[in-house]
């Protein structure tokens, strides 16, 4: 947790200078997430939920290319099932293009780890994402829908990867805190399947940041 706070403070310090650049624009933010994990194996279902915080950032190279990074960590507590407490650590990076202002495509890796007393479960997967956004008439408010498909995945679990997909939808709004400040509220869900094991993660995201969105 301390690492997240330090990283957030560092980004907040350098963000205004980077965001002022017109060619390379940087949009850092801090995000809080409510996470609900549903892990299913034949005959057993564990449901865990908790909160995670993290940082995220976008680096726009001109109007076409954009790089997004995300890091979060939190703790999940069991709601039902025999599973115990887990820590969640997740990092994601994606490189994308936005051929038009309202649509973007990206691809990149996501690494997600669940750390429990019994050991660490780690997923590495490559995702292809598509995102569409449209302004609402309310000034500075944009609605967006994003979907992704897991192209490949590996985990330190037995069995072959069976597939995965997910999506996120929500709104982003400019904040009256100053130029470039924004907030985002979204709901996302994704699922991966591995040899009869299914893991579904639902998240409610509330993020605040500065820079172009």
């Amino acid at each position: 947790m301390g690492r997240v706070i330090r990283l957030t403070l560092a980004l907040a310090l350098v963000a205004p200078a980077l965001a002022a650049q017109t060619i390379v624009r940087f949009a850092p933010g801090v995000a809080g997430r409510l996470v609900r994990l549903r892990a299913e194996v034949p005959g057993e279902t564990d449901v865990l939920s908790g909160a995670a915080v993290g940082v995220e950032g976008g680096l726009m190279l001109g109007k076409l290319v954009q790089l997004e990074v995300q890091y979060l960590q939190g703790a999940l507590h069991p709601d039902s099932g025999p599973a115990g407490h887990r820590d969640l650590i997740e990092g994601r990076a994606s490189l994308g293009v936005a051929p038009v202002r309202w649509f973007a495509l990206s691809v990149g890796p996501l690494v997600r780890s669940y750390v429990a007393a019994s050991g660490r479960e780690r997923w590495v997967r490559w995702e292809a994402r598509a995102r569409a956004q449209a302004p609402l008439a309310f000034p500075g408010v944009t609605g967006y829908v994003e979907g992704w498909r897991v192209l490949a995945a590996s985990a330190n679990l037995p069995g072959p990867f069976d597939g995965g997909q997910g999506g996120e939808a929500g709104i982003a709004a400019r904040l009256p805190l100053g130029p470039g400040w924004w907030a985002r509220l979204a709901y996302g869900v994704d699922r991966v399947a591995l040899a009869g094991r299914r893991e579904t993660v639902e998240t409610v995201v509330l993020a605040v940041g500065v820079g172009p969105r």
């Binding site: 609402l136 829908v145 929500g170 699922r191 639902e202």
Partner: protein, 355 residues
């Protein structure tokens, strides 16, 4: 009336009558058609002179006025020396009516003749009107001028009338000496510029008691030359007007976008994670998105006044109306700058007792 006619320029006591004296005209007449009659007068053959002069005056192919005046003065003198006083007076009256300012040359005619001519001039009260054939004047800046030449001091009234005789404007009423300059500005008694048409310039000679004895009428044809006026500026182009009321489109798009995103939030578990028994958090997000769409709709609801656009339209409208008013004022000024073209005809004399 006299004060109102103050525009008239009275030139009383003008003594520049020298050009009206006989010698030059008489010298020409001696070499022309009148030569036999004048020679007979000079040879004291009055009967022959009277016959010849009367013949020339009555002959077809009218004599020019200058020769006619010479013929009449010689005829009057001839009749006087023949002892026919009445005929002499009649000849001199015709002379005075023709040339009120005419004076016989005292070197050519004896005092009996010049005295009788002077007496006839004094008793006849004749006036002639001299005007340019065509006068073009800018109303308000220029005037139509008529010069009256009188046989003797008497009272006159100068009036512009319609063709039917009803008065348009009295230009002058008062005494006249040898000559008088009268001006007309092209307006009627009310001050309005006269319309085009036929008018008379009427000069009435009066006795001291005010009775009219003779009228000289000069036909005037008046044409108005209206200046071109500017056309009013066209209303601002449609492209300059901004929408003053919000259209339904943006508001409905906001509502629809909110609904679509909200539906996406609700549908995501079914699409991406079938059978996952999702939690209820998505309803809160969907509700927030829907609420945002509704607020957006209300903030841009159809028919709402867009004050910035209304102000911009008012500026456009005011600018156009200022241009219209400027053109209207310019046109008023142009309409007042009417020009009149006045063509004068040939004057004729009406005796007061004539019908």
């Amino acid at each position: 009336m006299m004060r109102r006619a103050g525009r008239c320029l009275v030139l009383l006591g003008v003594s520049c009558v020298a050009p009206l004296l006989l010698p030059a005209a008489a010298a020409q007449a001696r070499d022309g058609r009148l030569r036999p009659g004048i020679r007979a007068y000079e040879q004291l053959d009055y009967a022959v002179a009277a016959a010849l002069l009367r013949g020339e005056l009555a002959a077809p192919g009218a004599l020019p006025d200058s020769d006619r005046a010479v013929a009449l003065v010689y005829l009057g003198a001839t009749e006087l020396f023949r002892g026919r006083q009445d005929s002499a007076v009649a000849a001199f009256q015709r002379l005075v009516l023709l040339r009120p300012g005419f004076r016989p040359d005292p070197l050519t005619f004896p005092p009996e003749v010049t005295d009788l001519v002077r007496q006839v001039r004094r008793d006849t009260r004749a006036v002639i009107v001299e005007v340019p054939r065509t006068t073009e004047l800018a109303v308000g800046r220029e005037q139509f001028a008529a010069r009256l030449v009188a046989s003797a001091y008497h009272m006159v009234q100068v009036t512009v009338t319609f063709e039917n005789g009803s008065p348009v404007r009295t230009l002058y009423a008062g005494p006249i000496g040898d000559s008088l300059l009268v001006a007309w500005d092209g307006r009627d008694t009310a001050g309005a510029v006269v319309s085009g048409g036929a008018y008379w310039l009427r000069v009435s000679s009066r006795t001291p008691a005010g009775a009219a004895v003779r009228h000289v009428q000069l036909p005037l044809t008046v044409r108005r030359v209206e200046p071109d006026t500017l056309s009013l500026p066209p209303p601002p182009a449609d492209s300059l007007w901004r929408r003053e009321r919000r259209a339904a489109g943006p508001a409905l798009r906001a509502l629809a976008s909110g609904a679509v995103v909200s539906a996406a939030v609700l549908a995501l578990p079914s699409v991406a994670a079938q059978g996952s028994k999702p939690g209820g958090a998505r309803f809160a997000v969907a509700g927030a998105v829907t609420l945002t769409g509704v607020v957006s709709f209300l903030m841009r609801r159809p028919g709402q006044l867009i004050s910035d656009n209304a102000r911009a339209n008012r500026d456009v409208r005011d600018a156009w109306q200022r241009q219209v008013r400027a053109v209207q004022l310019e046109n008023v000024a142009r309409r007042q700058a009417v020009r009149l073209v006045i063509d004068a005809g040939t004057a004729h004399v009406i005796e007061a007792d004539a019908p």
